[in-house]
């Protein structure tokens, strides 16, 4: 018997009696959560980039040296001082989905500022789809900066492959669909997410996340700028479809 055969046989025997194993339910639950956080994170990153633009604009307006501006300055600190560089009124040329979506959000969540970005997305691509490919969007997302963190509104078509359900969320049957609520943290408990999800009977969905930077859930809850009732009304609004 060669050493290769010896190792092969002994490895085979030594690993036959498997003790324990991964749990499918836990894996899928964590995977879904991370997929949502990952996709939301793209929007949050976009918010951060635009926020830095606002810092730069403040420095320019004040005649200051942009080189001395702290680029890690909180976005919330920068936003009220000077407006961001002229935001495009039409985020995605060639469609009015972005305009109508941001208009509904502005109407129902007046606490939010103008969106930092509105963009098409899908369940397979990491990050937004190119604007020119909006026709194949399976969901649309609008990202906002708040004093406490940010907000993200997603509306998805019934055809989205990444459609989901939230088996461990609090669920409530409402007219036309099901409402879910979920609170969770990412970044090692530094960012808290308050998710409100509506899944229509036809399969379309609207998700709204409010993110808050805080060390624990209680502190995060106290820093929220959006009211649950308003968010629930938003996600159930029949105009949020495309």
């Amino acid at each position: 018997m060669t050493v290769e055969q010896l190792v092969r046989d002994q490895l085979d025997r030594a690993t036959q009696d498997i003790v324990g194993g991964p749990d499918l339910t836990t894996t899928i639950r964590d995977g879904r959560r991370r997929r949502r956080a990952s996709r939301a994170g793209v929007a949050v990153a976009a918010v951060a980039v635009l926020g830095l633009g606002a810092v730069g604009a403040r420095a320019a307006l004040a005649g200051g040296d942009a080189g001395v501006v702290a680029h890690d300055a909180p976005v919330a600190d920068a936003a009220p001082v000077a407006p961001a560089p002229a935001a495009p009124t039409d985020f995605v040329p060639g469609t009015d989905v972005d305009d109508s979506m941001s208009a509904v959000v502005a109407e129902l969540l007046p606490e939010l500022p103008a969106p930092d970005d509105v963009y098409p997305s899908d369940g397979q691509t990491a990050g937004p789809l190119p604007d020119t490919e909006f026709a194949r969007a399976q969901d649309w997302q609008a990202a906002y900066t708040t004093d406490a963190g940010g907000a993200l509104v997603m509306m998805g078509s019934p055809e989205e492959l990444g459609g989901w359900r939230c088996s461990d969320c609090g669920a409530q049957q409402v007219a036309g669909g099901t409402l879910y609520r979920e609170t969770y943290s990412t970044d090692g408990g530094q960012t808290w997410w308050f998710g409100t999800y509506f899944v229509g009977d036809d399969g379309h969905f609207v998700n709204a996340f409010e993110s808050v930077q805080a060390p624990d859930e209680q502190a995060a809850t106290s820093k929220r700028v959006l009211a649950d009732n308003d968010i629930e009304a938003l996600v159930q609004d029949p105009r949020l479809t495309f």
């Binding site: 010896l6 995977g31 369940g123 990491a126």
Partner: protein
């Protein structure tokens, strides 16, 4: 009723079909069943996150890559360079089998995590050199040399081979 992603059934099937195999690989690298369970759980979660973007033909390689690199990270974090400080979780049936397992795990523990991964992928998963190189992000020549070195060290530690009747294993 809310929807489930269309691809999730394929993921579930993959999970069911591969979890045992990945557990064995992780155990061979980490030397502990609880650690192997953690590594496989982490790898499957990672796999779920990226599943829609993985080419169907590349899922096995992706899963192995994720698992092996998870094992490396765990080995580094836990300082598990010498897992022989622990007895195996459960002995094989029979005294000879138990001794054999001790020898093997002790021998493997003397190798680096990367060398253990090479051994596991080559001789437990039966992967060709090219595929092992792909999983580990190593040149094929490095895989060959690491395999040879690992076998030399294992041969020196393992008990001399003895003819064992009925020791064949269908794979």
């Amino acid at each position: 009723m809310a929807r489930t992603p269309a691809w999730e059934s394929a993921y579930r099937e993959f999970f069911a079909a591969r979890q045992r195999r990945l557990m064995r690989t992780a155990y061979a690298i980490l030397g502990s069943w609880p650690a192997a369970e953690d590594a496989v759980q982490t790898a499957f979660t990672q796999l779920y996150v990226h599943w829609p973007r993985i080419q169907p033909g590349a899922v096995d390689t992706y899963a192995r890559r994720t698992l092996v690199h998870t094992c490396f990270r765990m080995a580094k974090q836990q300082g598990r360079e010498t897992p022989t400080g622990q007895l195996p979780d459960r002995p094989l049936a029979g005294p000879e089998g138990g001794l054999e397992r001790l020898d093997l795990m002790e021998a493997l523990a003397g190798l680096s995590p990367k060398a253990r991964a090479v051994v596991a992928l080559r001789f437990l998963d039966d992967l060709p050199v090219a595929e092992v190189a792909q999983v580990l992000d190593l040149p094929e020549g490095t895989v060959k040399s690491q395999t040879a070195r690992a076998l030399d060290r294992l041969q020196a530690v393992l008990a001399p081979p003895q003819p064992i009747e009925g020791a064949r294993h269908d794979r």
